[in-house]
């Protein structure tokens, strides 16, 4: 169906067109008309928390993929909330095997589709940040390097949420988790977020993108490109978690958006190694604003916030520095 999407105030026309959102028509600062399927292949009624950003990542990806897809899934929140027997939220063929092997299972599915002469069927592998940047790292690296024709989508809620909010390699600096608690000797997570998209890009695969559930059109466009890519494609989508981040459910998208507007998360894509920022925040918001909204950062002192701000500034300058007109 054709839906009229109001361009939110944070998107300027320049960025919308620049992001090639497959707009049928783009009215300057007006409405964007875009084809978005109204078919829900990730059904409602699943067990996700109210305000879960990650379920949005599932739902929108399937809107783009359509029915002709097979999904593999790593153990994690999205797997558990979507498939408690005898219920399922998945209206497409879906398989969960273990925590660390979504990419390996997808390799097998893709090989089987080839062997059975069903190359037209797409393959999407989902994994959480833990299932991707930590325990599933090897299986993912292998699958990317071997060149399977599949799309890997990492939904990144920045900790092991399914097991009760433990830190992962994708947990940001300073964040409180149950295994990086602040205390007399601790300010929370001591390390900076692992730069997974860059590591993935080092595999030389044809398509790598970062996205956010707060920028649905941008995300969907990237999933579309990833699906159209021949060979491996990777989309790393930043997705909010209400209990994990300590945010009210109605603030889920607002917080996710502020992650991007503060530069804590940057939206870009790499097509055959050529990089492009797909959204530049109209005004750079202080990291402190983003942190203040979430319980997981509430304990941070100005000193630590300053460390994070400097970290963000460095990356901001690297990415947007020369882009200033």
């Amino acid at each position: 169906m054709r839906v009229a999407v109001d361009i939110p105030s944070y998107v300027r026309c320049r960025h919308v067109c620049g992001a090639s959102l497959a707009a049928s028509r783009c009215y300057k600062f007006g409405r964007l008309v875009k084809e978005v399927s109204d078919e829900e292949l990730f059904a409602s009624g699943h067990r996700g928390c109210a305000g879960c950003g990650c379920t949005i990542a599932m739902r929108l990806a399937l809107k783009v993929a359509g029915r002709n897809v097979i999904v593999t899934h790593a153990t994690g929140c999205m797997e558990v909330i979507s498939s408690p027997y005898p219920e399922t939220a998945w209206r497409v063929p879906w398989i969960h095997v273990a925590f660390e092997n979504s990419a390996a299972v997808a390799s097998g599915v893709e090989a089987a589709l080839k062997a059975l002469g069903k190359r037209h069927v797409k393959v999407i592998a989902f994994g959480g940040d833990g299932g991707t940047v930590d325990i599933g790292f090897q299986a993912l690296s292998g699958a990317l390097e071997r060149g399977h024709d599949f799309v890997y989508i990492c939904y990144d809620n920045e900790a092991y949420m399914n097991t009760g909010i433990q830190r992962s390699g994708a947990t940001p600096y300073g964040a409180a988790t149950t295994t990086s608690p602040p205390g007399r000797e601790s300010f929370g997570n001591r390390t900076f977020k692992k730069d997974m998209p860059r590591i993935v890009a080092a595999h030389g695969i044809p398509y790598v993108a970062t996205a956010s559930v707060a920028f649905p059109l941008d995300y969907m466009e990237k999933v579309r490109k990833a699906l159209e890519t021949e060979g491996p494609a990777y989309v790393h989508v930043h997705a909010s978690c209400t209990p994990g981040w300590g945010i009210p459910s109605e603030k889920s998208i607002e917080v996710a958006r502020l992650a991007v507007d503060s530069g804590m998360w940057i939206l870009y894509e790499l097509e055959n190694g050529r990089g492009r920022v797909t959204y530049k925040p109209p005004e750079k918001r202080p990291v402190k604003e983003y942190l203040r909204m979430q319980k997981r950062f509430r304990h941070l002192t100005d000193e630590h916030i300053e460390v994070l701000q400097r970290y963000v500034d460095e990356r901001w300058d690297e990415v947007f520095g020369e882009d200033e007109e």
Binding site: S83, Y85, P86, P93, G108, A112, A115
Partner: protein, 390 residues
């Protein structure tokens, strides 16, 4: 046309994979399995086998890829050994829980530490509860034939369980034997195309690998157990049918010199050859061999029947359950024979590739004979152990 040739046991396995029209192979090299996956790679490279060959980055991924491929409806194969099998442990249980008829050859090898590439059977025996059918073979010919039979059993609608063909590393994988390679058309007739009740198919979407809470989990396990029980009969029939088509079969257990045997050696795998030779040399009617070909499902009735007239049994096995003081087969045999008067002894032998000689077998027979005469003997002995080095 079937043809005879001399070849390594590994080659015989690769021939079986080719004959079975396997669609997806995912494998990772490990001694002594390497020749199997090399030979298959060569067949794929030469166009003799039309399969997707995934050179995965680990055995964990090899099994995971086989799970994905099998769930999509493609006949899948992998081979491994020892550390590789141990690395697969987690996903072995998932392959069987998802009821996927994957076939794997395990080239039996000792587990670390100390690291050791030589043969024993601790690796696959440690996976006995993983829900896989396990077949232990004695010869290269039997390895080839058992891979074909394994697909037939695993894919049977009454079964739908993965199957492991266990062949002793080096002893079988790296030894040249005469092998008859069956005719491809005959194999196709014996082994119809894979048809699974559910696959990952956009035309008919299903959810696989759901969360099974305490309300559902036990029934899934019971269904696996029932499928395993049915597999026993299916395996027996598959072997009979194999004999009809190809002119040879093995049974789920093999009996050798058992008519008047009071002392029976029980074993699995290639050491049965050495035992048969020793029995022949002894020329003693009262000493027999029972070789278990099927270890899972455990052929309880066949074992009880075969041992109906036995007085003393000595289990010769290449594994030990540390802390139990004996091998797993011995423990299981005692359980199967519970309530009978048969005395069960055990011999732990050949760990980490230690040679098992006819002398060791003779000693095992003698110990059993002494027990038969009412003498006190060690319940478990370690054959060829250097006592002074322990």
């Amino acid at each position: 046309m079937p043809h005879r040739d001399v070849m390594h046991g590994s080659r015989a396995v690769a021939e079986a994979v080719r004959l079975c029209d396997v669609k997806v192979v995912a494998a990772y090299p490990i001694t002594p399995q390497t020749h199997i996956v090399e030979d298959i790679a060569e067949m794929v490279a030469n166009g003799e086998l039309d399969a997707e060959y995934i050179m995965v980055e680990s055995e964990h991924s090899a099994m995971s890829a086989c799970i994905g491929a099998s769930a999509t409806g493609a006949r899948s194969f992998t081979a491994t050994a020892s550390q590789g099998l141990a690395l697969m442990h987690e996903v072995l249980w998932i392959a069987s829980g998802l009821r996927l008829p994957i076939v794997m050859v395990n080239a039996n090898r000792a587990l670390s530490a100390p690291i050791n590439i030589w043969n024993d059977q601790s690796d696959s025996i440690a996976e006995r509860d993983s829900g896989w059918i396990q077949i232990y073979v004695e010869t290269a010919q039997e390895a080839l034939d058992s891979v074909i039979q394994a697909y037939r059993i695993a894919e049977d609608a009454e079964v739908l369980l993965p199957a492991m063909v266990c062949m002793d590393g080096f002893v079988l994988t790296h030894t040249v034997e005469p092998v008859e390679v069956p005719d491809r058309e005959q194999v196709r007739e014996y082994l119809p195309e894979l048809r699974m009740p559910h696959t990952l198919d956009p035309e008919n979407p299903v959810t696989m690998g759901s969360l099974g809470d305490p309300n559902y989990y036990m029934e899934c396990r019971k269904q696996q157990e029932l499928a395993m029980e049915r597999a026993l009969e299916v395996a027996r029939r598959a072997d009979e049918e194999f004999r009809r088509v190809f002119g040879r079969g093995y049974g789920v257990v093999e009996e050798y010199n058992m008519e008047d045997a009071e002392v029976v050696l029980v074993t699995m795998g290639s050491v049965a050859g050495t035992i048969k030779d020793t029995i022949d040399m002894l020329g003693d009617e009262s000493v027999g061999l029972l070789r278990l070909r099927l270890f899972r499902p455990f052929p309880k009735e066949a074992v009880r029947r075969a041992l109906a007239n036995a007085k003393v049994v000595n289990v010769i096995e290449k594994d030990v359950s540390i802390g139990m003081g004996e091998g797993a087969l011995m423990t299981e045999l005692k359980s199967v024979l519970y309530g009978s008067d048969i005395k069960v002894l055990g011999t732990v032998a050949g760990l980490g590739g230690r040679d098992i000689t006819t002398e060791h077998i003779r000693q095992a027979v003698e110990r059993a004979q002494r027990a038969l005469r009412g003498e006190r003997v060690d319940e478990v002995a370690w054959a060829g152990l250097k006592e002074e080095a322990v």
